[in-house]
Symmetry: C2
Subunit: 320 residues, 2 copies
């Protein structure tokens, strides 16, 4: 099959952009990987970033809503951390401007990691000897701080990239990388207008906000309750931002069911149907849905081999 139309399909870059004040280094990434996987960043010692954004799986938890300390749940579903480095803004409502800013949130969020505040996090890390050494290597002496914890985590997240999906191989010239059906689905994504919102190499609209649902539909609303959450307006209190959402990436979308900000839709087929109806006002025929889902399966990339971090131990006298 070959690609029709004028849409400019792009492969995923193998490096994520990094901010000038937080360059990626191997040692910083290693420290960030430790912190990201360390459950001692939570009040109960049971919840790490990886609990909700599992780096052994699709980068989230495959739950409608995540489960934080003491089994508390919130209203939103965990987005994947794979390729989050290609989001211009973070969170469903884009309320964090960078990965660094985002990483400051969960630890002191009472229903996520439940630490009292960042002082408590820093105190806990300072009590772990091995972290002194690791931070010293990366940021200099006495450098355990909120700023450096979030910098290290963000640097690690910038390495969580999944290139070389069948789609990327296809775009890079290997025409056998996608099946006929997948190429049909790819063309339909452009023709129908999915790529008007899900544009760019990460299919995440390059940081734009879009309304969801664009069209009201009582049947879907009764089932999925999409309008309960006002999206961006919850942070800005601006009525114009009601039900405005960051366009989410479609990379590895086959691995990250259930779908949408509230995780209300359990399969990719249904998610595509919902998008067709609510965003494009179209009742997509089953054949289109199947072709598009086949294509979306071609967005599953290669997961980098990672080594399991060995976390610096809790000194006996401080554990509780």
């Amino acid at each position: 099959g070959s690609v029709s139309g004028a849409y400019a399909w792009e492969a995923l870059p193998t490096k994520a952009p990094e901010p000038a004040d937080n360059p990626t280094t191997a040692e910083k990434v290693a420290l960030g990987q430790m912190l990201y996987h360390d459950p001692r960043l939570s009040s109960t010692g049971t919840v790490s970033c990886a609990s909700c954004h599992n780096t052994m799986l699709g980068g989230e938890d495959n739950r409608p809503n995540s489960m934080g300390v003491n089994a508390q749940t919130g209203g939103r579903s965990a987005p994947t951390v794979w390729n989050a480095a290609f989001n211009k803004v973070q969170f469903w409502d884009g309320r964090a401007a960078s990965l660094e800013e985002q990483a400051a949130g969960p630890v002191a969020n009472p229903i996520e990691m439940g630490m009292k505040d960042w002082d408590a996090v820093v105190a806990r890390l300072k009590a772990i000897e091995g972290y002194h050494e690791a931070f010293t290597k990366v940021f200099g002496e006495n450098s355990i701080s909120q700023e450096n914890v979030t910098k290290a985590i963000a640097a690690y997240e910038r390495t969580l990239i999944t290139p070389n999906s069948p789609y990327d191989k296809y775009v890079n010239g290997d025409k056998s990388a996608l099946t006929e059906q997948q190429v049909r689905g790819m063309n339909k994504m452009a023709e129908l207008g999915c790529t008007a919102c899900h544009s760019g190499p990460a299919f995440n609209g390059a940081g734009t906000y879009q309304k969801f649902p664009v069209n009201s539909n009582g049947y879907f609303e009764a089932q999925y309750k999409f309008k309960r959450d006002k999206g961006r307006a919850e942070v800005t209190n601006n009525p114009e931002d009601e039900h405005m959402w960051k366009v989410p990436t479609l990379r590895n979308i086959a691995l990250t069911a259930p779908y949408f900000h509230n995780g209300s839709v359990s399969t990719l087929e249904k998610a595509v149907k919902v998008m067709g109806k609510l965003q494009l006002d179209k009742d997509l025929p089953d054949e289109d849905i199947e072709d598009i889902v086949a294509f979306l399966n071609g967005l599953t990339g290669q997961f980098p081999k990672q080594s399991m971090p060995i976390l610096p131990s809790t000194p006996g006298r401080l554990a509780k």
Copy 2:
């Protein structure tokens, strides 16, 4: 320093004994590593074996009692999984005869992983395509079953060995591997009679049961409530087994605070004091405690470098 007395100190073997019907192979270990780290073995999708026995840390959770699905807690503290392969029997009360038998317990335990039963676990794994392939490689076609899940996990656990601690190096001839103080502590362990119970290369008494506490002590009992749990008698209902416990390993003991079956003692210093008083009827002087704790710190071994498993993905249509 040099070692006095007749006690035969032994280094940790670098291979654990394996049962005839479950030989360790690289592919089985890889599968076991996946299953061990897979939170989909729990009802909520949030709890894996590694949640309570963290392989990035000391092999447990540094909590007095563990936290299972829906934040439920039980009365006992999670023992380390590092070197559990050298236990003759498993659990504080020794109620499982092998790692295979032990691994069958947590998944359907309502306060641990909370699955309805093993049929539910097997059904869930069967729905994950990647597991079909992995099981086929190891056990042949259509081989996803309770028996094979627990065999694979046990085979993986047999690789969780931490040799080459300073103690092992010392015993193997490197006299500079332990400090003078550590050697003093080592001698005191034998002289006082700690090694009468904590014998063998894993300091776990080669599968013997011992009473704890041997001596009654109102002061410690008021603080630590050791007698609330009847130990082995809870399973056997035999009055002779009241407060009988498997002798736990002292390997990596510096990493696994808090201590004892109920995790009631927060530091190693206090744990040694408790042992002296309750098991040996001795008020150990601070100096002895410090020497012994220094020695016990020399039992922290080398943790094998592991790769992070990439778990087979949840197919979109089955996630909930």
